[in-house]
């Protein structure tokens, strides 16, 4: 049966769509009656050796997979597929207190207040000279528009900026080749009130006239990575889906896919699927920056949060920005063009040479490849076919290089190897298709399980891809692993792309829903990884660096506990004089100065998470005791042979009680103060 399925798969490329559909049916029925039959097919015989990283050895690459609806980034080693870390970005993480402790709560502040969750779709590595440099990872929050920056020295979220005039920050964040700008486009157009700023009011019947999209240009500081919203381009009210920057000859340009160019405001499933062609928007970012600098930009009121982690205090601080500058494309000739592209396109991917732009029209039957040099000529010759909101629209043929015919069904996303080939995911026909960028011929097909969304080749979006591996992120898992009830993890597959034919190597489950990923050779990140924070450099105002200095102080109904943790005790570990209804803030400084010795802190009954304190850092947990009693607290992260003994008590007395504030560590003799650091 498997042989038959394979034969049909091979035949499929020759026979086109009808047979492709039929094959899909046959394949499905095969999988249905015998679990496991599909698993073995196509797996290379020496696959185990290719992905085996012996105990104690390190992976060749770091990969960063978005977590989609978990709002986090998962870090996996490649080729082993081992999970190395989960980085909380837009979502609170009870596991380490991110978004729960006082230091990180401001990171999740927005103009809508505290938003503890988001939908993180696209991680993008920072770049130097068009190549991933391993310094930072940018990621978008789709639901409440935000862009985050993760520092790859610490694998921590260090900055989150809200994006005004946007809704559904999906088309984001796309760095230019030296991080001059991070671009962020809105997926949901909304009415923008340019007088009062921000979201305006409109009847939902007025979509066509009143709704606009925005593309934000975020500047990145070369040295410290800090973001700043420089300006926005207000664009027609389409849905902006994905983007990618040019390189080489097309370096000054960024390309955006759009759909719903029909501008339907309801039942978009149908309404946005009527036009045979939507648009690929091309924006000359250098020219846009020039226009903005030369006074073409308008300004409107705005209200958005910019949250940044201070390195010394290890505390996030929010600032609220009140204006935003914007450009109108109709006033900026030569800045923006539209290329007709079939049909409701998803991915837009520029090949390593920067000449070819591949548009993955998810409802299209072919894969159009546009030519940058032809686009330049068409601009010169004014080869236009009308305009939208003052933005010239090219004739399809005048910028088309060619089409990959019958690539498969439901093309979503393409990346490239370093040998001139493109690899495209086919969501509907559940396969990856390898094709040659020059002659547009399909070279190979690999069935994947099941329904791939995005794929990732390390550096596959840069000018020099690392053409050894490909990670395919599948949307449907079904029978690939032992069943775990109705909810299954998504599944990624690792494919060897070093040879002429793709070789299936490995399945590995992924957290929530990866929408995209990035990868980088380990050498660019591992040597910079911080082992612990230096206590001497801790400038947290509530830090105590020696057990001599611990204190418990009451100010009205707030009690501050400035305490320390070191193997294997807290100081103080006996606290009295707290009253019901007090707001108690435990400021815990981890005095350790060694690698991998975090201490956790949790207190009984707290309507809060624990907090996990890295060596040298100070973190603060808020607790409001509701009943009188004696409350134990303890270290939650197994730190030493006496970890279980690392605990203490807080005595909570009734409101108005006369028990004084009192605190201590150890009974018979005072424990000699721990040395914060030596020398």
């Amino acid at each position: 049966m498997r042989a038959l399925a394979n034969k049909l798969t091979n035949l499929r490329s020759g026979f086109g769509l009808p047979l492709a559909l039929l094959t899909g049916v046959v394949l499905q029925s095969c999988g249905g009656d015998k679990a496991g039959s599909s698993q073995a097919s196509g797996v290379a015989e020496d696959a185990a050796a290719a992905v085996y990283v012996p105990p104690g050895q390190h992976d060749e690459l770091y990969s960063f997979l978005s977590g989609g609806f978990n709002g986090q980034v998962s870090v996996y080693g490649i080729p082993s597929g081992r999970l190395l870390k989960v980085i909380p970005v837009f979502t609170q993480q009870a596991e380490n207190g991110y978004g729960y402790n006082e230091e990180t709560k401001p990171m999740l502040m927005t103009s809508h207040g505290f938003v503890p969750w988001d939908d993180l779709h696209h991680p993008k590595l920072s770049r130097t000279d068009g190549m991933a440099d391993g310094r930072w990872l940018f990621a978008n929050g789709n639901n409440t528009p935000r862009v985050a920056r993760v520092d790859l020295k610490t694998f921590e979220t260090v900055e989150i900026m809200e994006i005004p005039n946007s809704a559904g920050n999906h088309c984001s964040p796309y760095p230019t080749n030296n991080n001059e700008y991070i671009l962020a486009g809105t997926r949901f157009s909304v009415p923008i009130d340019m007088e009062k700023g921000g979201m305006g009011d409109a009847s939902l019947d007025e979509y066509e006239e009143k709704f606009r999209g925005s593309i934000s240009f975020i500047k990145v500081d070369k040295d410290n990575g800090d973001m700043e919203l420089d300006f926005q381009v207000l664009v027609p009210g389409f849905d902006y889906d994905l983007a990618n920057g040019g390189k080489g000859p097309s370096e000054d340009w960024v390309f955006f896919t759009t759909y719903n160019t029909e501008r339907a405001g309801t039942l978009k499933e149908l309404g946005a699927s009527q036009n045979d062609k939507d648009y690929l928007a091309a924006i000359n970012w250098k020219l846009a920056a020039k226009y903005a600098a030369e006074g073409k930009a308008h300004e409107m009121p705005a209200n958005y949060y910019h949250n940044k982690l201070d390195h010394g205090t290890h505390t996030a601080k929010s600032t609220i920005k009140k204006t935003v500058r914007y450009l109108l494309p109709e006033e900026c000739p030569g800045m923006m063009y539209l290329i007709p592209a079939p049909k409701s396109p998803h991915g837009i991917d520029v090949d390593p040479t920067g000449e070819y732009m591949v548009v993955n029209g998810k409802l299209a039957s072919s894969l159009p490849v546009f030519s940058f040099s032809k686009m330049q000529k068409a601009i010169e010759n004014k080869d236009f076919d009308g305009e939208v909101n003052g933005i010239p629209v090219f004739k399809y043929e005048s910028v088309l290089y060619g089409e990959v015919k019958e690539p498969g069904l439901g093309p979503l996303h393409t990346e490239f190897d370093n040998k001139g080939n493109g690899y495209s995911t086919m969501f509907v026909s559940s396969e990856v298709v390898k094709w040659n960028v020059k002659d547009l011929k399909v070279l190979d097909r690999m069935p994947v399980y099941y329904s791939p969304g995005h794929l990732m080749i390390p550096g596959g979006d840069t000018k020099d891809p690392y053409g050894k591996y490909m990670v395919v992120m599948n949307k449907i898992t079904k029978d690939r692993y032992l069943p775990t009830g109705p909810e299954l993890l998504h599944s990624a597959q690792l494919i060897d792309i070093s040879g002429d034919k793709m070789r299936m190597l490995l399945d590995f489950p992924t957290l929530a829903e990866p929408h995209y990923a990035q990868a980088i050779v380990a050498d660019k990140v591992a040597p910079n990884s911080v082992k612990f924070y230096k206590l001497d450099e801790n400038t947290h105002p509530e830090a105590v660096k020696s057990e001599k200095d611990v204190k418990v102080t009451r100010q009205g109904r707030t009690v501050k506990v400035n305490m320390t943790s070191i193997r294997s005790h807290f100081a103080p570990d006996n606290i009295e004089g707290i009253q019901v209804g007090d707001t108690v803030i435990f400021h815990v400084t981890n005095l350790e100065q060694d690698w991998d010795v975090p201490h956790g802190f949790a207190v009984m009954g707290a309507n809060n998470a624990e907090t996990l304190i890295m060596p040298g850092a100070t973190q603060s947990l808020r607790w409001v005791p509701k009943q009188a009693g004696v409350y134990p607290f303890y270290c939650t992260d197994f730190c030493s042979a006496l970890h279980q003994e690392m605990q203490g008590y807080v005595r909570v007395s009734p409101r108005g009680s006369n028990v004084p504030i009192k605190f201590s560590t150890g009974k018979p003799k005072p424990v000699p103060p721990a040395q914060a650091s030596v020398n």
Partner: protein, 196 residues
């Protein structure tokens, strides 16, 4: 004494300067959960190690067995030893300049005695730390002491301890050997001078 030997004597004296550039002794600790190892470096004037916080990390480990905290302030030696070394360097250079053979011998012998006393002192500290354990320590192994080796290796619970002289000690060694050579060779040269 020939100019050549005087220069060697001065080199012998100056080689003690290595003590200010490198540790005298290193104690290496290794355990399964310390793949990177822990090193305690003993200098003539300070304690250091493989990382800035090595003493704190030694002390955290040692507190389980009730060992006293190691702190540079506890060692008066670290304060006066540098002066002794400087004194040896200055007098050594003077001896070289004077070219007096007897003084060379005195210098070498004093240096040898000082070195031996230093090693003995070091050993006594190791014994003191290794045996003077807090009776309320969380981990008590009957009969167990934790004297690190003076020279060579030893297993202390989960730690493999290795103790070796380091480049600073080479300074003393060079001082002794070169000074000794000057003494011996100058005797020969005196004989040849007498014979001629």
């Amino acid at each position: 004494m020939s100019v050549y030997l005087r220069v060697v004597m001065i080199v012998a004296a100056l080689s003690l300067g290595l003590l200010f550039l490198f540790p005298m002794w290193k104690i290496y600790l290794q355990a399964p959960q310390y793949p990177e190892g822990l090193e305690l470096h003993i200098w003539v004037n300070k304690l250091g190690g493989s990382s800035e916080s090595v003493l704190q990390n030694f002390n955290i480990l040692n507190h389980y067995i009730g060992m006293e905290k190691i702190h540079p302030d506890s060692f008066a030696e670290l304060k006066y030893m540098p002066y002794i070394v400087i004194a040896f360097m200055v007098t050594g250079v003077l001896v070289g300049l004077l070219g007096n053979r007897k003084w060379v011998l005195v210098w070498v012998l004093l240096l040898a005695v000082a070195g031996a006393v230093g090693i003995l002192d070091f050993y006594l500290w190791l014994v003191k730390f290794g045996t003077n354990l807090d009776p309320t320590a969380p981990i008590k192994v009957p009969g167990m002491t934790y004297i690190p080796p003076l020279f060579g290796s030893k297993q202390l619970l989960n730690f493999h301890a290795l103790s070796l002289p380091s480049w600073g000690a080479l300074g003393i060694f060079l001082g002794l050997v070169l000074g000794g050579l000057v003494y011996i060779l100058s005797k020969k040269s005196m004989k040849t001078q007498l014979a001629s």
